[in-house]
């Protein structure tokens, strides 16, 4: 068809425009795709981390072996889902190390073939074999058990085949109270340790052959439907570690937001590109119209052009970028410090294409409608061409689809809504600000000359005051750009802080330290060259009354499905561990109320008590409530002084209730302490010698667990940094383009002023005043709004604590200012240097 040809010719005539359009669309959608590749992979890595911690996709466990009927029900459920399975039994037992003639408490992990489905166990003798006996590294180190030693386990004796050097599985508990040994489940029966009366953990692990048919979450529901006994728990990888689940969650949300931000920024660019392009083409389009091409056909043609470029972008991404990525994934991995694999899930990206196309197209609607409203005949006569004006509701299709897309891509209405309303906020604030400023400026220039105080100022102010809607649009774009950049930066800081473990990580928890042992233990520790930290008293008590009313148990109907409900039951019994302290630890933060005063509880008032946030919510207790405790036979009252929040990455034992010192200090207590991470040799020695001297003191080794979580966090942070930078780059490119465009429009004005006697310097000053004011105010507003929005979205979508990163407010401000000024100067270079000759007729 004629107009198809015409439009192809168009692309040859205006290569620059189409190239820019292509590039902008590419950046915006590439952000989405690139992000989904990288974080899809990291997501998978995190998921596999979680899988490794659990060792399977689904774990069905109880404190007793499953009955035949229950096993049959499980079989029924899994009949439709191809899978592999094994059983693990974890029990504690006293075994005898024959060579040393010593008995030790160990955790026996009895496995079957297939263990583990995810992750691996590295042993000193090669690959792990489930039919052999292995000991854990700390058993070897602490108690000097060696390979080929014989261990008496119950009724049988087995030879140690090797030492497990690294076990990626954590089990459901996350840590062990005693060193582990690994033996075949078949032989565990022979040991006689499973006689009636035995307590332990019996777990059936399942690995799904493929996830497309059903996801673990769905299968979990199916199992709950047929197995009703509350004693049986179903655990998925993300349940098994609160930290892992949270990391995955935050990453997913952040990825969604960033992708969205990148896309919006690029669409702003697309809008501007088309606006100037259509204006440039307007005369020719009017001529076409005059010669019989209807407006409808013209608009269809433009849409066709756009669709063509869009498909080229998609083609590039799918047929060039993806194969390139696959080729260079290893190199990219080492450069980025992430482990990227060659796999790319194209299905998800492909399914987004129609939405992306619609969204991008909708941003053009106001322009196309403006074109519709242009009376083309008149335009041909007019000396200066202008597109028909667009109205606010022309943007509605874009706004609505943006809202929908936000919710879709973040898989949550909450996050989508928050983000969308944040953008609307920026929109309204910008419009308001610009209108107000223009009104003010008009008042200032009224009746005055140009010297305000200099001509450059005078012209600049007038430029700002009079550009009407154009200014609003420019301001809005700049404000949105800065807002989004600031949002990403602030969120990045907040998330990175959350995903950073304290440099002092705990290595051992030490508990059951009797009062009279505390000082001797500290001395002992000093002698051994270790510094114990977090020495905390622990006192057992019951919560009797709240505000003089008997504490009422929450009689909820729960189905004991999750850990949460287990905890609910525990709380129902109102027993708890108290501690007394007048300082906050590094992992605590008061979120409402006043901190404890110094000096402990005086005699003239009730002692104060500090409660953990979620616990207080569960118990329905507020600040100011009077609580009555029974501390091992003694009742006393206290008043709630503050509510505190405990960092979720805290690995320290946390207390829900903390009392001011001076009240219960004399009550019977035990102490907790923490051994911070340090050299392995020192840790071993300390453990050995401490157990010898203080046999009742117990240890929990958390070093491995924390190490694994630490690397998990590092990986997540890495991904988040990359995503942030991607969006930032997009944002800056767009801002540059916008700035450039603004200035370039002034070409003729600048040339004229040059003719009239303005020096290059003065011309530049004029531009700096006018656009500097515009950029600076838009940018400041954007940065501030971005910070504010980050606090809200951070709290609601990511459950982060508020923060102000002044550095990230100040330096971007500085940088963006410099960027904008540089843009102004660069873009105006040609105009400023232009020979006035170009103003004359035959140029």
């Amino acid at each position: 068809m004629i107009f198809k040809f015409f439009f192809l010719k168009e692309m040859k005539k205006f290569p620059f425009f189409f190239l820019l359009l292509f590039f902008t669309l590419f950046l915006g959608t590439m952000g989405l795709m690139g992000i989904s590749i990288i974080t899809g992979q990291v997501h998978e890595k995190l998921q596999s981390n979680a899988n490794q911690l659990l060792t399977s996709d689904i774990a069905v466990s109880a404190r007793r072996d499953l009955f035949d009927t229950e096993l049959k029900s499980l079989e029924e459920v899994f009949k439709n889902h191809p899978h592999k399975t094994y059983k693990i039994i974890d029990i504690y037992s006293m075994i005898t190390h024959l060579r040393a003639k010593a008995s030790r408490l160990v955790e026996i992990r009895a496995t079957q073939e297939g263990f583990p489905f995810y992750g691996e166990l590295k042993t000193s003798e090669g690959a792990f074999q489930s039919d052999k006996l292995y000991i854990s590294k700390d058993l070897a180190d602490l108690w000097q058990v060696e390979t080929h030693d014989e261990l008496q386990i119950g009724d049988i004796t087995m030879k140690v085949s090797g030492v497990v050097l690294d076990d990626s599985s954590m089990g459901l508990r996350g840590f062990s109270l005693a060193p582990r040994i690994y033996m075949p489940e078949a032989r565990l029966v022979e040991t006689g340790l499973l006689k009636p009366g035995a307590t332990g953990s019996f777990t059936y692990h399942f690995k799904l052959e493929n996830f497309s048919a059903a996801k673990p979450q769905d299968i979990k529901k199916e199992i709950y439907a047929v197995i009703k006994d509350s004693a049986i728990r179903i655990t998925l990888p993300e349940d098994s570690s609160e930290q892992t689940g949270r990391v995955i969650n935050v990453l997913t949300n952040f990825m969604a937001l960033s992708a969205l931000i990148g896309l919006i920024l690029s669409l702003v660019g697309v809008f501007y590109l088309y606006q100037s392009h259509l204006l440039a083409r307007l005369k020719d389009l009017c001529l076409l119209n005059l010669h019989g091409l209807t407006k409808n056909k013209i608009i269809l043609g433009i849409i066709g052009q756009f669709a063509f470029v869009f498909s080229l972008v998609m083609a590039l991404e799918f047929f060039v970028i993806v194969p390139l990525y696959r080729q260079f994934a290893p190199e990219l991995s080492s450069v980025l410090g992430l482990e990227l694999s060659r796999d790319v899930n194209l299905a998800a990206s492909l399914s987004q294409i129609p939405y992306l196309f619609a969204l991008s197209l909708f941003i053009l609607v106001p322009l196309l409608l403006g074109l519709m409203r242009t009376s083309m005949g008149l335009q041909l006569k007019a000396s200066k061409l202008s597109l028909g004006r667009f109205r606010f509701w022309d943007f509605l299709p874009f706004i609505v689809s943006l809202w929908l897309f936000s919710c879709y891509i973040s898989h949550s209405f909450k996050t989508g809504n928050l983000f969308f309303f944040a953008l609307m906020l920026v929109f309204f604030m910008s419009t308001l600000f610009v209108r107000a400023s223009q009104w003010l400026l008009k008042k200032i220039i009224k009746g005055k000359g140009l010297l305000l105080p200099t001509i450059e100022n005078g012209i600049a102010l007038r430029g700002l005051a009079r550009s009407g809607h154009k200014l609003t649009l420019s301001f809005l774009s700049l404000a949105i750009g800065s807002t989004l950049i600031s949002l990403i930066l602030q969120l990045d800081t907040m998330i990175s802080k959350e995903f950073t473990l304290d440099s002092e990580k705990p290595s051992l928890f030490i508990f059951d330290i009797q009062e009279e042992q505390m000082d001797p233990l500290l001395e002992h520790a000093k002698k051994e060259g270790v510094n114990l930290s977090y020495v905390t008293p622990m006192i057992r008590a019951r919560l009797e009354k709240v505000n003089d009313k008997q504490f009422v148990r929450k009689k909820r109907s729960y189905n004991f499905r999750d850990r949460e409900d287990d905890e609910e039951r525990r709380f129902r019994s109102n027993s708890l561990n108290l501690t007394y302290r007048d300082y906050l630890t590094g992992t605590e933060r008061i979120i409402s109320g006043e901190p404890f005063p110094e000096g402990g509880a005086p005699d003239d008032r009730l002692p104060y008590v500090s409660l953990e946030n979620r616990w207080a919510q569960r118990m329905d207790i507020q600040i100011g409530d009077k609580l009555t405790f029974d501390v091992q036979g003694v009742e006393f009252e206290a008043m709630v002084r503050n509510i505190k929040e405990i960092k979720w990455t805290s690995f320290y034992p946390n207390f829900f209730v903390t009392i001011e010192p001076g009240m219960i200090d004399a009550a019977p207590k035990t102490f907790l302490a923490v051994l911070p991470s340090g050299p392995a040799e020192t840790k071993l020695n300390f453990q050995r010698t401490t157990v010898e001297r203080f046999p009742n003191i117990s240890f929990i080794d958390v070093e491995e667990l924390i190490g694994k979580l630490s690397s998990l966090f590092v990986r997540a942070r890495g991904a988040i940094e990359i995503i942030s930078w991607l969006s930032l780059i997009v944002g800056m490119v767009i801002l540059y383009g916008l700035s450039h465009d603004q200035v370039y429009r002034r070409y003729y004005d600048l040339a004229l002023m040059k003719t009239l006697g303005f020096s290059a310097l003065r011309l530049r000053l004029n531009l700096i005043y006018e656009f500097g004011a515009l950029f600076f105010s838009a940018m400041s507003m954007g940065l501030f709004l971005g910070w504010m929005i980050a606090q809200v979205i951070g709290r609601e979508a990511f459950k982060l604590s508020p923060s102000v990163d002044w550095g990230r407010l100040f330096y971007p401000a500085l940088f963006l200012t410099v960027l904008c000024l540089a843009t102004i100067l660069l873009s105006s270079w040609r105009a400023v240097k232009a020979r006035p000759r170009e103003l004359l007729s035959d140029s």
Partner: protein
Amino acid sequence: MKFIMSLLFLISFSVHAQTVLFLGDSLTEGYQLAKEEAYPALIEKELQKKRKDIKVINGGVSGATSASGMKRLDWYLKSKPDIMVLALGANDGLRGLKLADTEKNLSQVIEKAQAKGITVILAGMQMPTNMGVKYRDEFQKMFPKVAKKYSIKLIPFLLEGVGAVPELNLPDGIHPNAKGHKIMAQTVLKVLETEL
């Protein structure tokens, strides 16, 4: 405040009823249960049906080992117990501690109590089968041995009829539920009543 507290303490126990102290761990405390559901409270209720002047102190602390016995006894001496039911040692066993130490700790507590004129009843315990035959045996034999040494009454097995019975325990399989505690109360009463 502290002065008033100690006064309260004395006052609540000064009208001298017969006071029975239960010094134990989670089994005595009533882990995950309300105070009224644990066996000491059940015993108090039962006894008060017959005589009004009985007072029971629940000195159970979850997780306590025998090493904590001495200090805690000191704390409760203030309330001048007449009888003490000593139900410690289970956690020592679960942690695989040396039984010689457990025996020593229990002995010290009994000696101190007897020195103060308190009648002691010892509650015997058993370890689950997974702990191994040898350890189980040693552990189980410890209690009658100590009881004999100090000529005190022994409750043969605190969890008689309760241990390892799923319906009488919480889902963790270790701690008795409310039903289980009822049975425990009966088990203890059988011996306690002989000392009242």
